[in-house]
């Protein structure tokens, strides 16, 4: 007993002050990419061709990068001779629509909160049922981590629950395999309305590294309506937390550093 109390003292208090204070992220963290199409030679398509998930397209307006497909690898930045694409350490990337995830320049807007009645219902208490539908356990692990003392999701009134019947919505990971399609649908149907769906990770948004396989359905939206998309492969726990809190209008005034302030060279 004394040993436990002593450990309690030395192990200390470990919960982060997020969102009141900005998160500490490693310098090499690849968060929100920025694009500078003015650097692109007209006939260059190196990044477009290098992208494993076809997240980058190029037209007369320049480059467009779909965060919902992006694996946050370095294939495009490595291939680009001009440094037109760079990753910043900006972790905030969640969006309410698929369309909002497409970046041409600058950063995507802060996530829009739920409206009216939904916000009133869920703002202070949101119970989610997690469904992994082909997730590789990367996204699952970094969702799970929100439950640890470091993030302590419970302090925001957000909780992962064991049954869809107890849930206000689903948090889906994975590309939705053919073999999980029915289970996902049934789990969704079992959640009492009104309900929300959150797609976490490139897989759940677009199929991710498995997009286009015969065995998968390229994301949660193929089966259920999605209210929030959280990009990453996997998204950093802070990215997920930002998305959840933004949806619930719990972020408060934008106290953290301005978006894009922390450019990393890579």
């Amino acid at each position: 007993m004394w040993k436990i109390l002593l450990s309690r003292l030395t192990q200390g208090h470990r919960t982060v002050a997020y969102p009141d204070e900005p998160p500490s992220l490693p310098p090499r963290f690849r968060g929100h990419p920025t694009i500078d199409s003015t650097r692109c030679p007209e006939d260059c398509r190196q990044c477009v061709d290098s992208c494993p998930t076809d997240a980058i397209t190029k037209d007369e307006r320049g480059l467009a990068l779909d965060l919902g497909r992006c694996l946050f690898c370095t294939d495009c930045t490595d291939s680009c001779p001009e440094g037109a694409i760079r990753f910043t350490t900006e972790h905030r990337m969640a969006a309410r629509t698929r369309h909002d995830l497409v970046v041409r320049s600058g950063m995507i807007d802060r996530v829009r909160a739920l409206d009216g009645k939904m916000l009133r219902l869920f703002r202070r208490s949101l119970k989610l049922r997690q469904v992994s539908a082909g997730g590789c356990n990367g996204c699952e692990a970094d969702v799970n981590v929100l439950g640890t003392i470091v993030f302590d999701l419970g302090r925001f009134g957000i909780q992962m629950v064991a049954s869809p019947r107890h849930a206000d919505g689903l948090l889906v990971t994975g590309p939705v395999t053919e073999n999980m399609k029915l289970a996902l649908k049934k789990t969704y149907d079992a959640v009492p309305p009104p309900k929300i769906v959150i797609a976490v990770g490139a897989c759940a948004i677009s199929g991710g590294p498995h997009a286009g396989h015969d065995e998968v359905h390229d994301g949660a939206a193929s089966v259920v309506p999605v209210d929030l998309f959280i990009p990453g492969c996997p998204p950093h726990p802070f990215t997920i937390l930002d998305g959840l809190l933004g949806l619930l209008d719990r972020l408060g005034p934008d106290r953290t550093a301005p978006r894009g302030a922390q450019l990393t060279e890579r």
């Binding site: 040993k3 490693p26 992994s132 590789c136 356990n137 799970n144 470091v150 073999n179 289970a183 590294p209």
Partner: protein
């Protein structure tokens, strides 16, 4: 002894040199493996050449691991329309490999005691289906035969695919008499994403990303296994510095997962101090990996030819400091666990797997070492930095939850030492060398001791130097049946504890 081709881990040979055995000789080789102290690391069908997807015959390749000599013995055979007599009755460790080849290539296996689908997908060879299912239909996952216990007061408990936690899907069926479990049957396939099939024709721009997400918690392990394959097939050597950094990353991956597992086990028996501390400490190890490469899971770090991120002295010092801090706290958390009699009462004698069972099933990794089986690829089939600097194999005897937990703890201590040593003496070479093109008509085998156990990749190339086949054997493939056996005669309420003590991968199994 039958003719085999013996190669060390991470080597490639010409396909033409692979002995093609008569079916009987091949069967005898596999069945006799255990008696000759060999393990079955891989046994699989190779896709027919691209022009003949519905070929009448399928080539089988086996890779037997000899842990005494460190050699991998390879041989092949051809199976025609008649299929083959199942080897499972004489060699239980191939039971799932046989089910897999039946499912993938429609190979008929006579006398397999429990021939069911593994992942529930249509056959990859049109016109060939082991169960004569109609062509063009997708089998319904989980709809298959299950063992059933008959009798009064006997009942069946079915769990999943969707579980109560944040966890991947799988289906578990318990045959119970009251609280007592007579048998647990595990039916997977829900996570099947068709990765192996997509690897054929590669390497392409998605290949490394497929590898990194085969089992997302084993990114470094699988990416290293793949890189060794490319290096073997192209005749490229990863630089010494790359090998050392790969070792660092692999041990950090082990540290994060083992620490998380100790915490999860503590949580399952309601011992919250260790559960909370380890939950945080797991993240500290993941964050150390993120210091290296920006990703907590090591995405982007391991690449054929080396590593994509180098470290400087400042970063090394930072890593060392974090390691020391984490070492202090994880030691404290673990000692609390071992010092708690109530925890020990729950861990000891729960979920015991007998050494004979572990041997017969071909268990790998901590689950095998917890039963007294000395199986650790880092020691017996070392590649990369493990050839230069050895790491002691951590063992326990009792085969129960305690043993599986304790092996993890021993490995945590040793991995911390290993990382510290490696960081202290990083070779001053470049971190990466551009690999050459893959040589045509070759076969390569690569083993890596991931945190769950042996990861085995086997690739063959076609005449153009593209992957003609790519086989992935995740350690979970060997070990799921071990979990099922550990539940025999246990209380059903001990399932979560037993399950965590194995902590197997669903997607690594389902691919």
């Amino acid at each position: 002894m039958t003719e085999v081709l013996a190669i060390p881990n991470g080597h490639a040979v010409a396909r033409a040199d692979l002995p093609r055995l008569a079916l009987d000789a091949f069967r005898a080789l596999v069945i006799g493996a255990a008696a000759h102290r060999r393990r079955v690391s891989a046994l699989f069908g190779v896709p027919p050449a691209s022009g003949a997807p519905d070929a009448a015959s399928i080539e089988l390749i086996v890779v037997l691991a000899d842990d005494d000599t460190g050699l991998l013995e390879c041989a092949s055979t051809v199976v025609g329309e008649d299929g083959l007599a199942s080897m499972t009755p004489d060699c239980p460790e191939v039971h799932l490999f046989e089910r897999e080849m039946a499912e993938q290539w429609g190979i008929r296996l006579q006398g397999h005691p429990w021939l069911k689908p593994v992942r529930f997908h249509p056959s990859h060879r049109p016109g060939h289906d082991a169960w004569d299912r109609p062509a063009g239909t997708w089998p319904v996952v989980g709809v298959t035969d299950f063992f059933r216990l008959e009798g009064e007061e006997v009942h069946e408990v079915a769990v999943g695919p969707v579980h109560a936690g944040v966890i991947e899907p799988g289906h578990f069926r318990f045959q119970c008499h009251g609280e007592q479990v007579f048998h647990l049957e595990i039916s997977l396939g829900y996570q099947h994403r068709g990765v192996e099939r997509k690897l054929v024709g590669g390497p392409g721009k998605r290949t490394i990303h497929h590898m990194e997400t085969l089992a997302g918690d084993t990114t470094v392990g699988h990416a290293t296994a793949y890189s060794q394959i490319v290096e073997a097939l192209s005749g490229t050597r990863a630089t010494p510095r790359a090998c050392a950094l790969r070792g660092v990353a692999l041990e950090l991956e082990r540290l994060a997962n083992h620490t998380g597992d100790l915490g999860a086990l503590a949580g399952d028996v309601g011992f919250l101090p260790t559960a909370s501390y380890c939950g945080r400490l797991r993240g500290d190890f993941l964050n150390a990996t993120a210091l290296l490469c920006g990703s907590r899971f090591g995405r982007g770090l391991i690449r054929p030819g080396g590593v994509a991120f180098d470290v400087d002295d400042g970063l090394v010092a930072q890593l060392q400091n974090r390691l020391s801090a984490a070492e202090h706290d994880v030691t404290d958390a673990a000692q609390l666990l071992w010092g708690s009699s109530t925890v020990m009462a729950r861990f000891e004698d729960t979920g015991r797997v007998a050494p004979e069972t572990a041997l017969a099933l071909g268990l790998v990794g901590p689950a095998a070492r917890a039963c007294g089986l000395r199986r650790d690829v880092r020691k017996t089939h070392p590649s990369g930095v493990y050839r230069m600097v050895h790491i002691p194999t951590s063992m326990a005897e009792s085969g129960d939850v305690f043993a599986r937990a304790y092996v993890r703890w021993l490995e945590i201590e040793r991995s911390i030492d290993y990382v510290r040593t490696q960081l202290g003496e990083l070779p001053r070479t470049s971190p990466r060398r551009e690999p050459a093109a893959l040589r045509p008509e070759m076969l390569a085998v690569s083993l890596v001791e991931g945190w769950r156990g042996e990861i085995c990749h086997v690739a063959t190339t076609d005449e153009a130097g593209r992957f003609r086949s790519y086989k992935v054997v995740d350690p979970s493939f060997h070990n799921w049946t071990g979990l099922a056996m550990s539940l025999r005669d246990q209380q059903i309420s001990d399932f979560p504890l037993c399950n965590k003590s194995f902590n197997l991968s669903y997607c690594g199994h389902d691919l």
